[in-house]
């Protein structure tokens, strides 16, 4: 038996009438809340609250472990114990690299009394990796995972889409941006979700320059708790200014997006735990070797007087243009390996509050850490060279601009 097209449609209608229950979808409170989080008028206040919760949880959780327990463990027990039992003693080069380089007071070399200043692989290296960075990273990835699994992230992408179009990106760019606040390495990979070469270049350049990673945020929370808000504001402002300029200057397209926004749902404990474990494990595979290697290299450079020589050579730029002490050259070198390590080193240098803000901003923007650098290289050496050229210009101008602001305010 052969049916005509009309007969087929009639048959389909008949079957569907008998087998399918047609109903009216009743709008629920969950749907209505979903709409509220996407509309700018209501969605922006909600996004403000989510960010507040994010940051507040980050501070409380990381502070609980770092200030509450790890500072005490490392400064009062681990460091004195190592200073007692490690062979060599103060002044010995191997002891300096592994435990404590010490510092000069009235011409006498004295032992450090905390792990921020000792700068040994076994003291500062372990303290930074386990005592400071681990709680910060767990807190960050826990909240990020919860936001993803509840279904808030796609809504944030929709909400911020219009703003990100002004800088040549679209709503999906919020994913690498927020991931970058945890670690720049997966964020560079995540920038592949952007469709065009222009978008990917803008995204990678902005990530490499303006987004501090979770480890760095954790150390900043320890070193500059009162001014961290200003530093972040300055960095995020730079993110949009540079993005806008790159969007105007670079050729290429910035297409629209079509996002499937899932309904809100309760996150499942097993999924959250698994994602958190994978992310923290991935981060530590990258971070710990570089933190320890960073301690070794910086200590060797100090012992060989290369840091002092570089500090004198670069003094006109550092002190004259950026307005920071020439001693910041050491942390800037350490920042090639790990930016969290570099910020920790800054805390041991005597400087004013404003110089500290400028130094932290410089460490953040001046070069991606080596792990991010390798990821950028994987994406293509031409893009990497382009990013570095933009970066050099931005560091010089944006760092200098901050010094100019302090001069105008009369505090530099």
């Amino acid at each position: 038996m052969k049916l005509t097209v009309d007969e087929r449609w009639d048959l389909i209608e008949k079957i569907s009438k008998e087998t399918v229950i047609f109903g009216v979808y009743k709008h629920t409170v969950k749907d209505a809340i979903g709409e509220l989080t996407v509309k700018p008028l209501t969605g922006i206040p909600i996004a403000f609250a989510v960010l507040y919760g994010f940051w507040s949880f980050f501070g409380s959780f990381a502070g609980f472990f770092t200030d509450g327990f790890f500072v005490k463990l490392f400064d009062e027990h681990w460091l004195p114990w190592l200073q007692d039992v490690f062979p060599g003693g103060l002044g010995n080069w191997f002891y300096a690299i592994m435990v404590d380089a010490g510092h000069m007071e009235n011409g006498i070399l004295v032992a450090s009394d905390n792990c921020f200043e000792s700068f040994g692989v076994l003291t500062s290296g372990f303290f930074l990796a386990i005592g400071v960075v681990l709680p910060a990273i767990i807190a960050f990835y826990l909240i990020l995972t919860l936001l993803e699994d509840t279904g808030y992230m796609p809504r944030l992408a929709v909400l911020i889409d219009t703003v990100l179009h002004k800088i040549g990106l679209h709503g999906f760019a919020i994913v690498p941006t927020i991931l970058s606040l945890g670690c720049n390495v997966p964020a560079v990979t995540a920038s592949r979700i952007l469709e065009t070469k222009k978008q990917r270049f803008i995204m990678m350049t902005l990530l490499a320059i303006f987004i501090p990673c979770g480890a760095q945020l954790g150390i900043m929370e320890e070193v500059i708790p009162d001014t961290i808000g200003f530093v972040l504001l300055y960095l995020f402002t730079g993110y949009f200014i540079l993005g806008f300029i790159l969007h105007k200057v670079l050729p290429g397209k910035s297409p629209e997006i079509l996002i499937d926004v899932p309904p809100y749902q309760m996150p499942m404990l097993r999924d959250v735990a698994m994602k958190l474990w994978m992310r923290v494990k991935g981060f530590f595979k990258i971070a710990i070797p570089f933190v320890l290697l960073g301690c070794i290299i910086v200590n060797i450079l100090y012992l060989a007087n290369i840091i002092d020589w570089l500090a004198n050579v670069l003094s006109p730029v550092l002190s004259g243009w950026f307005g920071v002490p020439k001693e910041t050259v050491g942390p800037l070198i350490a920042a090639f390996l790990r930016k969290d390590l570099a910020v920790a080193q800054l805390s041991a240098i005597e400087m004013t509050k404003y110089q500290m803000i400028t130094s932290v901003v410089l460490v953040s923007i001046y070069f991606p850490c080596v792990a991010t650098f390798m990821m950028l290289l994987k994406e293509g050496w031409k893009d990497l060279l382009g990013s570095i050229a933009v970066l050099a210009l931005v560091v010089f101008l944006y760092g200098g601009l901050l010094h100019l602001i302090w001069i105008l305010l009369g505090v530099a």
Partner: protein, 155 residues
């Protein structure tokens, strides 16, 4: 049914005004620079908790006030739910901060806090969001009366 919703709109109208006043007070105190204490109430002057947090409490108040226009209608009702969620975020963060402060012994103390120190952390004064918290929980009763949040089909 209508009476229940009328009562709800009056309740959240009052709560909205109170939240709005608390939010504005938070912002005024931050602008002034010194924290404000009155009995068991304390308004922090730091830009994060007072400024950013105050702004969110102000938004919560606005959400409540927008909801009373037609409280029985689902889109307006959901604004009251959102207002409560904003209060829960701020109050929850304040409570979490208290918990994380109360357990460690501090710089001079031992590993853990003394019982006295532990209990002392939870003593007043409290920030405005903590006072708003119990009143904001009334939305759970309304959600329950409405029959939950899950989508369903009707023939």
């Amino acid at each position: 049914m209508n009476e229940k919703y009328n009562l709800g709109s009056v309740y959240f109208g009052i709560l909205g005004v109170v939240a709005l006043v608390c939010g504005i007070a938070d912002l005024v105190v931050v602008a002034g620079g010194d924290s404000f204490s009155w009995g068991i109430l304390e308004i922090p002057s730091d830009p994060f908790r007072g400024g950013w947090g105050g702004l969110i409490i102000l938004f919560a108040g606005l959400f409540y006030l927008y909801s009373i226009k037609n409280f029985s209608e689902i889109h307006h009702f959901s604004k009251a739910v959102m207002g409560s969620i904003l209060v829960w975020v701020i109050a929850g963060c304040d409570i979490l901060a208290m918990i994380t402060e109360s357990i460690p012994g501090g710089e001079e103390g031992g590993w853990f806090n003394t019982l006295e120190g532990f209990l002392g952390t939870y003593a007043p004064p409290y920030a405005p969001a903590i006072f708003l918290l119990p009143f904001s929980l009334v939305i759970i009763y309304h959600l329950h009366k409405r029959g939950g949040t899950n989508a369903d089909m009707e023939e």
